[in-house]
Amino acid sequence: MRFADILHLCSQNLWRRKSRTILTVLGVIVGCCSIVTMVSIGSGINEMNEQSLKQMGDLTIINVYKQGNYDGAGTSDSTGAGQTEAKLDDKAIASFTQIPGVEGATAQMSLNYTVTMTADNGRYVATYGDIQAIDMSQLDNMGYKLTDGTAPTKDGEILAGQYLAYQFYDRFRPEGSNMRYQPQDAGDGTYWTCDATGNCSQVPADQLGEESKPFFDPMKTEITLTIQTGDDSSNGGGVTMGMGYSSGATDMGGTGSGTGSAGTTGANGANGSGNTFRLRATGVLKEDYNKGSATSSGVLMDISQLKAMLAKVDQSAAKTVTYEQALVKVADITQVSDVEQQIRDMGFSTSSYEEIRKQMEEQSRGIQLALGGIGAVSLLVAAIGITNTMVMSVTERTREIGIMKALGCTVRDIRVMFLGEAGFIGLLGGVAGCLISAVISLGINLVYLGGPGEGGENIWHAIVGGDGVTRLSVIPWWLFVFAILFSTLIGLVSGFQPANKAVRIPALDAIKNEQ
């Protein structure tokens, strides 16, 4: 018998008992929908996790620390004791770039001296400065963003932290009004502004007044940096390079008041034993706490420049520079754990978002499995429905099957016929289920995004997502393929036993069963 003829007979038989077929298909649709919807919500959770991780930091950047010295986000894993301590120096950085999959690497160097900064011929003074340096050629690679200007190219050029200018006070103004406070984004288009007395108010972005802006534009004003090397420095005589994170930098206003006691010693300018450097900002960094407080309230420069400055202050220290921390950028997210392992094998501590990402992925896989399981139960019920329908169909058609056998229909053809009917029910249910779940998914996302939006822009976002769009329900294309195949398979499996029953009906029944 030709396969086309078998299919034709299948569809004819299904069509003959429309209502029963439709009801059975409906069962499969419900099962298919619940699986697809449930798994899609799992995928949605996955997507949201991914996006929130991205907001936390770049997932492809690994932080490298000197063994046993680390203080960053994420988790770290030491390679254990007993290993000789590896030096995190220029040689080590160069060796990182040799690891396959690494796009770039740079040391992160900080100045551990107390510094004061002045601007506009000493009128504006900051008693605290967070000075950091990286390899400027890696600026883009490492995910540093500029809000204004370009990266420095020459000696004496630097990048200013986004709120650097708020660190300065005006020596010509009276106490109480000699500071400007950085407005805080409230997240809804308005800003919180505060004055020196602590009175805060919320104003829209376009009504921010002059008093919310810093006294000067760091890109137009030369900044003079003075490094204090006096004996009163809390760092003592030893010169070390290290991380200079200021945990206080995140608080409102970010005035750096936490360093007040150290700062007062040099508050009145460069009359101490400091070395003075004149710097010009070519750009303003976007604040990013993953990159350190220098992006917010400090200064970022090229490593060679910081080394040169250090050499003027302390010749001996500059000759043997080792770093506390380095950044390694990996080309692809899938290679992160590999690269991380290799760096650890070299004797360094590392941290990245890889571990967190894995954990979150595992978690959402668990959720996905649980939700998919719930869906699977309803598909199981649908499978029982198919079996029931097919058993009834076989019973009803006992005589027909007998006739067909008597007329020379082979056992194989009869089996294929009934399996085909069952599979067809599964296939129909799968296809319809996928279409309906696509609509359900769209609906869920639209509700989640808060309506179709102006001009229906959210409809597009609800379907394909987008940057910064979080969807509750995400249906990857393979889920549709899987759902349709799985429904068909369920149909075939459910039809197996009834088909066997049909096959066993003897041709004799055609003659025996008199009307």
């Binding site: 018998m1 003829d5 003959r16 005589r399 006739i403 008597a406 020379g408 229909c409 003659i511 008199e514």
Partner: protein, 236 residues
Amino acid sequence: MAIIEGEPRPMIEVRNLRKEYPVVDETVVALERINLTIPRGQICCIYGESGSGKSTLLNQLAGMEKPTRGGVRIGGVVVSRLDERELAAFRQRHLGFVFQSYNLLPNLNAIENVAMPLMFRGVPKSQRERIAKGILKRVGLGKRMTHYPTQMSGGQQQRVGIARAFVAHPEVVFADEPTGNLDSKTKVDVMEMIVAFARDFNQTIVLVTHDDNMAQYADRIVTLLDGRIVSDRLTH
């Protein structure tokens, strides 16, 4: 398994056939020591009252049941030893059936019903429908080709059944009380039609009936009583 044309062997040979049915705690013997030889082209009537075992004999001949003892050969093939798969293929090629209750498939129209045996053989749709239309015209249903069984009278349905039995030109056609459900005028039409087909293609017919008048259409009448052949005579 092919039946060789012009073979000296008779079309159907039954040797020492016995069929028992177990009923609760005793054994009922339905057929006993049946020996029968039917040559090619003969219309053979198996005649008997109900319960004489004639339908049981037909089932053994057509391979629908396995005999308890003895064997049935059709065209040299021992049908009583074929398995399910071989039987299906054998029926496809060599056997046709006419049933008492027509046994048309209700969801197929006349053409599709007639073309069904050809479909099982894998004949393409256009070809098999052309053949089916030809034979339907011959049985006088040229105007009812697209009708469904429920839209036809008993006589018409049986004519479709006959067309179906002969459409693939099988060597042997089994007819089990083909006129059992029909009125006396239609009976004659149907019987004449079966005989005409058989003569045209030199086909062997095994006709089972308890109707004297119908038996007269056969070349030979084998009478069964209580599972034994009690008479075997030619009608002319």
